[in-house]
Symmetry: C4
Subunit: 486 residues, 4 copies
């Protein structure tokens, strides 16, 4: 038995009781990092209300290093960080935010700067001394130290122990791309673990550099990179239960706002990262954000799913393959290329007996998708369950999306107070999402769009690459589940 | 060569010469455990004749713990077990039954209580001191100690040695979900081993959380959970020979009576668990059992298959995939979801030259299934075998099923003596199944329903999700097999 | 580069320069072993000309043991071997033959007698002391010591070293079922290695207990047993080059004569074991052999292929899947059961520029099969090769098969001298197959049945489950290959 | 994140900043090696302009050894190398070239000469003492030392350290056939690593001895041999990013000129090896080279792709399977045999914003292939990228191929100066390919054959087994990529 959600859990640092939220520079800026980038971004996160929406962590990724000093400690690039890292940390702390950094469990970072393998203790001390609150710990140049869970566990455990030994609470974000099945063992080591190769800013493209897209993707000898958002989502389907308060699956940083997907695709990407309790780390250029990007990232009804107290991931209940509609005139059959074309239904438990339901259309045409209560509540017993035999209110998670007009006012004014955000925004600093849901704040539930009767179905026309995402709330009050799902 | 059945075997504790029978609280109650639950259930097992049907072990699963004492020993939750564990053990022993407990070969139990990894000796002593007769030993939070058979073997061997060192015979039930192929190495370590992810109360649903449902399910990197009964049965098909007296495949605890399957489905589930010599651990609420549940669990003709002296598992002789009859209007093709739709034929050897035959219909419609003697006896040489060239009496294992009226009398009266159970019940405490079969007790053979001629076939219309299960007995006396199947 | 055939190779014992030939009791007798069985069989092997056909080794399989003495040495069962093992060895040696025994690299043999794991040195000394010439070393109860080539290598290397340390040349036959890829590393450790699960006396049946029958069977997590002959042959197709003089792939003992296949099927089984340079160990009851069995096992034209000096295995050049002709009325599609239905072409190099060609029909109907010289000689360059552009004499390897009448005379007279065996038998004791081929002995070449012109094809109607097996000899003299295949 | 191309990388020896170029005797001569072969070949490489085209290394493969001396050092075969290896090295050095040798990380070389496992330090010293500049280090007879990346890494690291310890810069070419995923860990150990089984002189044939040809070929338990060129190319598709300056994927030595493929096929083979930044080691008999072979190997426009400063591999953007056009009259379906029949599009980045595009036709008929700028520049953002929205000049890499007449003059005169090679040849000794490209030397760009408009496509009729290979150069000047691909 595997207990889904209760008791102690995760590493002993007490962090990430809900999935961490923040920003990391990599997806938008790669190695082009600097003090200015971090501090200006942090300021905009405050201005645009993203800090108060919950995005606490400002994470500096690779390429910040100038190597090791004579006494073996890591040294920051003084051109890019002229005032040193402690100054960056202080500046971010002064904004009421937290500071994250990056290192690698190898001899070199992926960008080929000094790695931390064999330097775990000294580097952890350096990070703690600088005031770091978060460590993304990568996997490049690991000198062959992989191949069984035990080999990889030992390598990542060393930094876990070193961080704990500093006495400073530092969120430990393992980035080992799913190698050696971290979902099996990382819960006692880290606060989150990447479970796939690197995301690319693409919705559902198949790329040979990101293999393991078949039904056996849970056993992947090559994590790869250039993984589309839906490739990663499908890879996560076998282990939704592996996350828990303090220890989360990480589907990689968000691409929302980076330009490679449509608004519809970004909505789907963002919704599903929230639904499966992934770490939620923005990856766009916050300083050049448009209105639609802001209204996705700040959607309170979706963030309330992400930050739900249960920490219970949505589960893929079914998938159907769509007929291949390759438009190539080149040949008659395709494989190992093209796009993922499916429809899927995901559902999951929320605090207080509510449920999340997501109807996904990965196909190229709009399609009517139906989801029965029996399938939505299959874990509770399907058609025989009390849940399937109850009627439910349906709340659309996107119907109250912040209008572009409001978002544009915020962006232009560098302030959330300039716009009327009633009903479209939640300030998590003032009151947590969990408390808001407990108080039935309408902005967190979504827009009531109808009911589904006992034994009935939810149906929606779902646009190409879109998601119909709702919260269900039982009309006759929550039922008691007689058996915890373990 | 692998010798199927003779000589020594299993761990040296002499237990489980036939597959263990008992009850475990997990499937019905999860973490909601207490002294009262165990003792009241044990009493009902006696009252309802289940103890005398062979269900000896009352097993307390996870969540009983309050942690470790200052001297490092495990301590029971004093609210749930106000009189201590030794009292529970004594109470169960006084009913003529045996007491089982639960621990984990990891740092935490699946429910996140103290694990036994690194505490094997002290915990084994504690269990022995409490009078424990059975240990279910789980696999959560194993700190990466897996990846080769040798790593997992060493981890489980430590508790095996510790239990043996106590001097108390304690049945050792490994629950490592098939990780690192326990069927290859656990026979000298344990009395049984789980060979798949956790069962769910569903007959044949496909769930992404329980992958490895394809033809290569014997090599599974993610055991998962929410595995349907038929998913597990198919996973077991490659290694029926791995069990032997003292050491058994464990297909996980029974779901019979928990409400997620139909009566027909529970009959199939129960029959096949018996036929493949799985551990037989009831998982329902015994105190709220209905008549049909009782008449499944107490079926003497099926339990005589389970407890047959040879310990020889039935083997899947063939399977045919049924056409996919997905009723979804959503799309045209499905995979990674839906249900397993096949027909199968299983057969196996029983003591004295008898044979078990099971015709399974996993499809959605009733179907006529035929099984030739050549296929039933393919191991003996198929159509050329003496067996296929003999005629056989056919005994239906379910035709004598206890009537609901009788079962209801037992349940209402809390006593088997209130009902006339002649021909529908066997008291294994008075005389073992093996001795009863040797004496040709009709209740153990099943109902004679016909004969099959030499070279002929067994045919039956089998209802959707049902099994036609029979015992064959040679009309002209048992033949000698010239070669042991090794 | 992997050098196919030259120089040193195998273990340092100098044995098995061609694939070993002999007899083992297991397939026909299992545990029913005795001095009488071995000695009477050895005598019949002499009488029937099998010794002189090359079957040197008489191998006693499992179940001979009575455990260990107080000083830790293995002791033979004194009921079955009343005069001790040294006496058996002496008796066999006196017949001009060699004696083989069985042990296991585990804590127990497969029959659950004392294993040799941890006792390698003392057991090797015991065997050498008894006069043993051959050790079959099995893999049961290996206490989890597997999972990487290194773990398994170390376990089997210990006995290799122990045997070499005795100073007695003992052929070392690894029986680890292909676990951890022995074809990668066993050449320096052993004289042969099993590369699959155990054979069963069936031609081409699919059985769930012997999985890995798909295209990726070279990576098999469960060797299994009840493997049909054609299942094993297909598994061998990826590594024909791994054998070499002194170190051979072992496709398991022959089932010829055991009754589970037709004469045609046994011919195919025997031919292909010879063609791929498997160890050739008879597995039938020699004392109750019929004429057709004898005329298969003694076929000199096929044994000359097996014992060819090059030690170069035939290679599967192509395979075509036949349409599924399942006759079941049960359902419309089958998988994981049924039979292997293909046609295949195998070819390989022989001493002096000759070639072996085998056309296999695994289907249920006779079929015309064509093989072009371009495909037969694809390794030499296909259609552009000198070989494909030459004309060849074709010699049928089965056309000179010993008539039943002659075989019956031998069997009845217990002597080969009673029958006229000119042209149907070869005495390898008098002159080796290699020397005979060098001298162009007609009985070893087969019957000349035609020629194939340059650029042409071999064609034959091949009966169901049959093989058309020929030797090709270049009409214009052998060509020089400009590049060794390495 | 995995950084594609910048900074430090590879082993610390500073070699192979672009993929190494040279010649190795194995493919054409196997074990038939001698001083005369090497020195005469080196002279011809100078005469034919191949040295100046960049082919620096003359590599002696297996079979040169006479074993070890009494003091444990390797000794050369004195018949084949009568003046010793130092003399060979000196002779090659005197020609302005470099000398490579061969050894094995096992107990025997593949040709069964003395291996270097356990002799790493002494053998590295011997090689350095002889003046060796390059070591090909093979994988045969590795005594089971594989199974996890760590085991194999440790074995190959020992020779890496030993070579570095000599103080002589020796290019370290790992030849471990992709075992244990060297692309994950070899960049800090070696200058190149083989990533598949051995190549055979065949374009696209499927052979059971080279399995793992399916979509999951990146996880291959049996590297095998007899791998066709296109089999290897497909296996490389998942990890184009793993190479970098100093550390390259090695797709095995070229077969160009060995006679098993057509001229068209060799062009495709050579083009793609260059495009994916494989090591470029010729494998033909240089002394008997024909005109077409020379004009392939010396093609400056293709070598400029290979030696491009970025070291960035082309990536397979899509593949389409062609309908199976098996002409066999034998049966109706084929698998595990036949040929790879696909069309593919590869593209990649070049220095200065240029791009490589290759349209491959592996089918049996000519076909029109179209590649959109959106697909060519998918990594930059596809249809939304600045690249796809720019217009490009198209330069054909083969249109300026050296005429047979010119090549024949060179071959006959043993001198490049005899022919007018203006516009068809580049002397890399005088000026590097990189400098030439920077100066826009027309011979390196290829022949301008047209333009492609913004949003447009490249189209070409591609002959069977051919490639249409072009360089694209932006008409409006190179765009800036805002994010490094890491």
């Amino acid at each position: 038995g595997v207990l889904a959600a209760n008791g102690v859990g995760g590493v002993k640092n007490g962090l990430a009781r809900t999935p961490q939220m923040g920003w990391d520079n990599w997806n938008a800026f790669g190695c082009d990092v600097s003090e200015e980038l971090l501090i200006s971004t942090a300021n905009r996160m405050v201005d645009y209300g993203l800090r108060d929406a919950g995005y606490q962590y400002v994470v500096l990724d690779d390429c910040w290093s100038a190597g090791r000093s004579e006494n073996g400690t890591l040294v920051a690039n003084s051109t890019r960080f002229p005032n040193g890292m402690a100054h960056v940390a202080d500046s971010i702390h002064n904004l009421g935010m937290k500071f994250g950094m990056y290192a690698t469990a190898g001899s070199l970072t992926c960008g080929r700067y000094e790695g931390s393998l064999g330097y775990e203790e000294v580097d952890a001390q350096t990070f703690a001394g600088w005031g770091v609150d978060y460590l993304k710990y990568d996997n490049c140049y690991n000198e062959g130290q992989e191949g069984t869970p035990l080999i990889t566990y030992n390598r990542y455990k060393r930094m876990s122990d070193a961080l704990n030994a500093t006495g400073r609470p530092i969120l430990y974000s393992m980035c080992n791309w799913g190698t050696d099945y971290p979902w099996k063992w990382a819960q006692t080591v880290a606060n989150s673990w990447r479970m796939s190769g690197d995301i690319t800013d693409n919705f559902n493209r198949v790329d040979p550099r990101c293999p393991c897209s078949g039904d056996e993707g849970y056993d992947c000898a090559l994590p790869g990179f250039h993984c589309s958002a839906m490739n990663i989502l499908n890879k996560m389907a076998p282990y939704p239960d592996k996350g828990q308060p303090g220890a989360w699956n990480d589907l990689d940083m968000l691409e929302v706002g980076n330009g490679g997907m449509t608004d519809t695709e970004y909505v789907t990407h963002f919704t599903m990262w929230a639904a499966v309790k992934s770490a939620m780390i923005m990856g766009n250029d916050i300083r050049a954000m448009d209105a639609k990007t802001l209204s996705i990232l700040a959607n309170p009804a979706v963030l309330a799913i992400s930050q739900d107290k249960t920490g219970s991931s949505a589960v893929r209940r079914w998938r159907y393959y769509l007929p291949n509609n390759d438009n190539s005139s080149n040949a008659t059959a395709a494989q190992g290329s093209g796009t993922i074309a499916e429809i899927q239904m995901w559902s999951g438990s929320l605090e207080g007996g509510d449920a999340f339901v997501g109807l996904l259309n990965l196909g190229d045409e709009a399609i009517m998708i139906n989801a029965s209560l029996a399938d939505i509540f299959v874990d509770a017993g399907g058609s025989h369950s009390e849940e399937a035999q109850s009627s439910w209110d349906v709340y659309d998670l996107w119907a109250n999306r912040m209008p572009d007009s409001a978002a544009n006012i915020i962006i232009e004014a560098n302030s959330t107070s300039a716009a009327n955000l009633t009903g479209v925004y939640w300030n998590n600093t003032e009151k947590s999402y969990a408390d808001g849901v407990a108080e039935e704040a309408p902005v967190l539930l979504g827009k009531h769009v109808g009911t589904v009767e006992a034994g009935g179905s939810i149906s929606s026309m779902v646009e190409s690459h879109g998601v119909y995402a709702v919260r269900l709330r039982m009309r006759a009050g929550p039922s008691k589940r007689k058996r915890d799902e373990l």
